[in-house]
Amino acid sequence: MADKFKLALYWAASCGGCEIAVLDTEEKILDIDANFDIVFWPVAVDFKVKDVEALPDKSITVCLFNGGIRNSENEEMAKLLRKKSVVMVAFGSCAQEGCIPGLANLYSRESIFDYVYHQSPSVDNPDGVTPHPESRVNGYTMTLPVFYERLRPLHHVVDVDYTIPGCPPQSDQVGAVITTLIDILANGKELPPKGTVLGAGEKTCCEECLREREEKKISRFYRPHEIIADPDKCLLDQGVFCMGPATRSGCGGKCVNAGIPCRGCYGPPPNADDPGARIIAAISSVLDAETEEDVNRILDTLADPVGTIYRFGLADSIIPVSLDFNHKGDE
């Protein structure tokens, strides 16, 4: 079966959930195996970077790349896999828009190192050692990847053909994309236009939410544990901060239909560049506020506004970093 298509999967700055989402496709994993040779997948199979380097350019049919670009190794791997792959897919929220690791863009590299290696309560580092890209040990030079100043989504670094959103992408959607992809490749059909978002809808999460929307004004926000929300009514109407109106559909509304507000993991809907701006526009219609003071009073009940509205999308937003790290912020 030397004629199978070739598939590579890689993780950069991510949690590993996207890998699980691929495995969660259950019996579809057999279709993947039947149609693809997996040439690189550090989580699951034992190929090394030198094996990828040895491949001819454009010899990998599809690369599913998850994770953002946080250090020089991530960037190097993204560029290598781009060179070797015909189709590069930003798989999952981190590769698409930075996701949770992107929130670190609110802090400087120095303050992140300081916290992680010195301040964090669980750290035991009596010698105060901090990693350096280059160090000399017994006459040898040891190197580590360079930790960049900020996290970037994959498309800031390499050309990306398709995006599969989600944190992680829902496995039924992943399965459907894989089935479609196999059909396209095996039958020589036309690939979707470049830039297409695969495995997601064209509307907002609200479209898939079964809750009933009313014209209600809210006078405060509740965190999910502070309220027993009516199971049939819109969470936003009840004061639970829900990112639904600013989030692409495709997940099936799993969170909202289970009583948890949408956190926005499917990224901004089509025609929106910035999830934060989109939710501010939407929320303004439901605030019971006649003055700026009213708005501020209501916002005081919202913990960590930036972390809430840019939980997934900060690194790909219009202002993707904090421009002044000396600012104490409001967290």
Binding site: D3, F5, N35, K58, T61, V86, V87, L106, R150, P153, H155, H156, D159, V160, D161, T163, L185, A186, G188, K189, E190, L191, P193, K194, G195, A272, D273, D274, G276, A277, R278, I280, A281, I283, S284, S285, A289, E290, T291, E292, V295, N296, L299, P305, V306, I309, D316, S317, I318, I319, P320, V321, S322, L323, D324, F325, H327, G329, D330, E331
Partner: protein, 166 residues
Amino acid sequence: MATEPRIIGFLCNWCSYTGADLAGVAKMKTSPNVRIIRTMCSGRIDPEFILKAFRKGADGVLVSGCHFGDCHYQEGNFKAMRRVAMLKRILARLGISPDRLKMVYISAAEGDLWAKTTFEFTETVRALGPFDRTRLNALYPAGNGENEKTPEKGTGEITANEVHHG
């Protein structure tokens, strides 16, 4: 010579723009630092417009709508006010002084108030100094120009014959 503050003014069609027009017709002096963009309603001003203004080089953004109760579309100005108030918090956390963004209410008859407001806000922004975009530009060189957001998400087409069929 110090750089002059660059200010974008988003004005609603029915009250504020007409007010600014009145200032012009009456030959009142207004601040040349304010560049006006007319929208049908202050409620049309998407927070994205304001963020993009800062990203593309504005030192300050002035949003002007009708007085409460006067909105041609009933409550667009309330929405604008809420958006501006929310956005100010976000700007603060992103390291942009919230004082660079201001919401005002100016009627079609208040040309003098518009003129006064432009000078006042110009002075506020001047006192804050130029909005330091150095860090943004250093980190996102591709965003420092026509591409207001990020490098474009891919260009060109992939053709099916690039794929090796098995």
